[in-house]
Symmetry: C2
Subunit: 383 residues, 2 copies
Amino acid sequence: MAERLESRKEDVLEANKEDVSTAESSGLPPNMVERLRFGEASLNARIRSLGEIESLADPVGRAISVDRRPNGLEVARVRAPLGVILMIYEARPHVTVNAGALPLKAGNAVILRGGLEARRTNAMLGALWRESLSEAGLPEDAIQVVSGTHEEMQDLLQYREHIDLVIPRGGKGLIETVSSKSAIPVVKHFEGLCHVFIDEGADIDRALAIAVDSKCLMPEVCNAMETLLVAEPMAEHMQRIVRAFSENAVTVKGCEKVRQRVPTVLEATEKDWRTEYLDNVISIRVVEDIDKAIEHANLHGSHHTDAIVTNNLEHARRFSREVDSAVVLVNASTMFCDGQTLGMGAEIGISTDKLHARGPMGLEELTTYKFVIYGDGQVMGQA
Amino acid sequence: MAERLESRKEDVLEANKEDVSTAESSGLPPNMVERLRFGEASLNARIRSLGEIESLADPVGRAISVDRRPNGLEVARVRAPLGVILMIYEARPHVTVNAGALPLKAGNAVILRGGLEARRTNAMLGALWRESLSEAGLPEDAIQVVSGTHEEMQDLLQYREHIDLVIPRGGKGLIETVSSKSAIPVVKHFEGLCHVFIDEGADIDRALAIAVDSKCLMPEVCNAMETLLVAEPMAEHMQRIVRAFSENAVTVKGCEKVRQRVPTVLEATEKDWRTEYLDNVISIRVVEDIDKAIEHANLHGSHHTDAIVTNNLEHARRFSREVDSAVVLVNASTMFCDGQTLGMGAEIGISTDKLHARGPMGLEELTTYKFVIYGDGQVMGQA
């Protein structure tokens, strides 16, 4: 597939240009057109990514545990393919490369249904997948790119005898529809309303470096910070804090205590604490102490990724225990919520569910397991 | 709770007597009345079981993996409570003890809804749970026994903001209803249509010992064998095979090839290959070879527990790889599909799903995990 993306680059770029021009003339919002764009740089990044996935170890057959029981049975819990995975995602063509390769590497078949605005690009990538699979001696249906209507997709979501897992990845509407209609088990890749909390006594330089990295490096990703929580005693640094974001072209909203100190800051309302901006906007809230910070994150957040900047060991331990999120960081940027960075290899996305997989979802999370037990005639009745 | 079950034994037995007599006078089938019965022996078994659960290690906080990344981040994947678990099960009062204790031990709250025929017994056990929790200084709502109507339960299944996991345990009707109505993730504990395959060249004494143990020790449990597959060359032993079951008061049904050899055997139809008898009935089929045995198990079985009796290493490896079941055994009885026997400690049931937990579900499977990451100021932008 990597070779094909290289040799057929022009075809893919051409198909994408058509999708983009259709989207523009039909008035798709500019940020969604940007997501749809699949230029030469993105394509090269995908080719590299396929190489990385190739170099990962195959998880299937790897034992999670092996034990010999007192009765002599040898009990192994061994990873096995899940079966057929249905991915439903927005009009982001690069997903059609990665979300084909990763499930396949874990021994699964996969059905890919991206946003219809990327229909031509996806169809081209689907054709390349078929050719590649066939050339590699694998069933060419192992990766299928489909472009069914919403009604057809809702029908597909009833096929629980034939599909083992649905992964919807995207915004609230998509996730809600898939979750409520699906008869097949779902692992959601939903929004990230992530916090950074600057604790009393934190080093302000370190805190600012972490907060700015968490917000500004890639504001459009799910693990970008949306709300900065500042312990009351640290509010004396508010001028500097606000300036650090303004200098990065980030619009700052704040609670009353923030605005008392920096009057130019816009007013943050209750709604802001629940908003995933995915944009150059931040809301800042002054909280009394770590208790209120933990309460705020658990109440308003999406249990995705939250960080504390602190020098207080007890607070570090409490925050990491009591904040009920998939990823909790102490003195590090929320940007590190990423399968590759965490040593899991490439990821298919970040699960916001608690069942099966939580947080970054890599090859292992695309498998199930089975118990394989060897004996030499053991029966229970005589034991 | 163990102490309370001891000191309040008479109250529990009395409540159960009332349930049983109501069930009998309302014409509940005898095998369901048997399940409902909670006598002194069952109660003592539960008391012992609580002691065993107490002695298990608490899974919460235990790391699944710990790693130091090249950038100096320390990344731990740590077990955490799932949250609130809803158990829906049949009128088997002993579950009201175990399915309270295990989720609690893993740091969860649990809502228990057993079959309404056991209403009085369950209400009494629920009262004892409240008293026990309160005395132990835990929230007395951490284990709640409810007896809502079907309509009320269907309402409860919509509370996905408040309940993290539903475990339905029982027959087809119950499982179907819960799975199709639930907005909350479900891990099903469904039927076990389990096979034993006697391979060509197997030791017939060993094969019979395993087959009889798998069928006769506890015919009513989900991992009891329902269908015996016999490789063609082993069919010469059919007289002995049939006799081994007849002697254990098991009714034998068979395919044409079985009946040619033992004409007294009843005729097995297509429906038999798909029937979980849970009773003293077995169906026997002669299959050409291991290919046909694997095909039969994957096509007709319920992907629960399947065993092969063989001396052929290649066949052992193929059967364990290719039979797509939660538990695959080589030369051992299907009775060993049990959390305790497999070294997982007490189990809450046996998952027939592939997501989150497959096969016996113990304390670890009643947790989720979170990533806890410690750094000293790492940001990604400067890395």
